[in-house]
Symmetry: C2
Subunit: 150 residues, 2 copies
Amino acid sequence: MIYRDTVKPEWVDYNSHLRDAFYMLIYSLATDAFIDAIGLDDAGRRAQHRTLYTLEAHMSYLREIKEGAAVHVEVRDRKRIHLYLEMFEGEGADAVSACEQMLMQINTSGEPKAASFDEDIAERIDAQAKVDAKDARYVGRVIALPQRRA
Amino acid sequence: MIYRDTVKPEWVDYNSHLRDAFYMLIYSLATDAFIDAIGLDDAGRRAQHRTLYTLEAHMSYLREIKEGAAVHVEVRDRKRIHLYLEMFEGEGADAVSACEQMLMQINTSGEPKAASFDEDIAERIDAQAKVDAKDARYVGRVIALPQRRA
C-alpha cells in the first residue's frame, strides 16, 4: 500500500462520482509517495538537482466511486520508471481503476535534461513490488473503438 | 477552441510546474465543454437520464508549463466518443500536451447502462473538428520503454 485517501466533496462531478481528473490526482500523490520511498524525496531531489517528469499516463476507469469513499493505491509493477498502479475502494479486492505511467528522471542543475538513476536509487526501485505481466491487466493498452457498435 | 484556463497556484507541484493530474483536470473541463457543445448539457442529461463516463484516458506530457500560464484546448479529433485534444500555452502553436479519451454514453434511468447517441447528438458530434490521422501525433500510443537505455 503506497497511498491512502478519501474522495473529497470538491472532487466529485455532475454524476456525483469522482471526476476522472481526480483519479489521476490520487495516482499523482501516490507517485509522489513512491518517489519518496525510493529515496528521491524532496531533500534528495534538491541536493542532487534531480527531479522526475511524467512523460505519459494512461488511465483505465473500471468502476465509479462516490464522495467519501476510502481508497488506497498499490504499486503493482515498475520497470525502472515504468510504473503500474491500481486503486481500490475500502477493503475491496477488485480495482476501481488502473494507471500506467512513464516517468523520467531529470537533472535540473542547468537546462533540464534526462539523467540515469544512481545505483542506490536503482536498487530501491528494483526492490519495489512487481507483478507477473499476466496480472497487469491494464498495461500496454491502446485506446480504440470496438469493431462493432453496441 | 473548446476551453480556456489559467494555471492556478494550487495546481503547481514541487517542480513549480503544472502537476500531471491538473493537465487532466483541464482536459476534463474541456470535455465538459465539448459535451455541452454537442447538446448533452446538464438539462439535457437530466431530462433524458443520460450521462457520459470516461472509460480510458491517455495523457502525453510534451512540455512543462508554469503557474499563471494561459492555456487553451482544441478538439483535434473525435470518432463518436473517441476524443483527441491538444493543449496550448498562450498563442503558441506547439502543443504542451495531448490527451486521448474514450467516453461512453450511459442511460441512468435505472441501473446505469450504455446507450447509443440520439440522431441530433450524433450529428453534432460529426460536425465537430476532425484532423487527418497523420496529424493526430499522440493517438493510439502504447506506454513502453525505449529499446535501449539512455
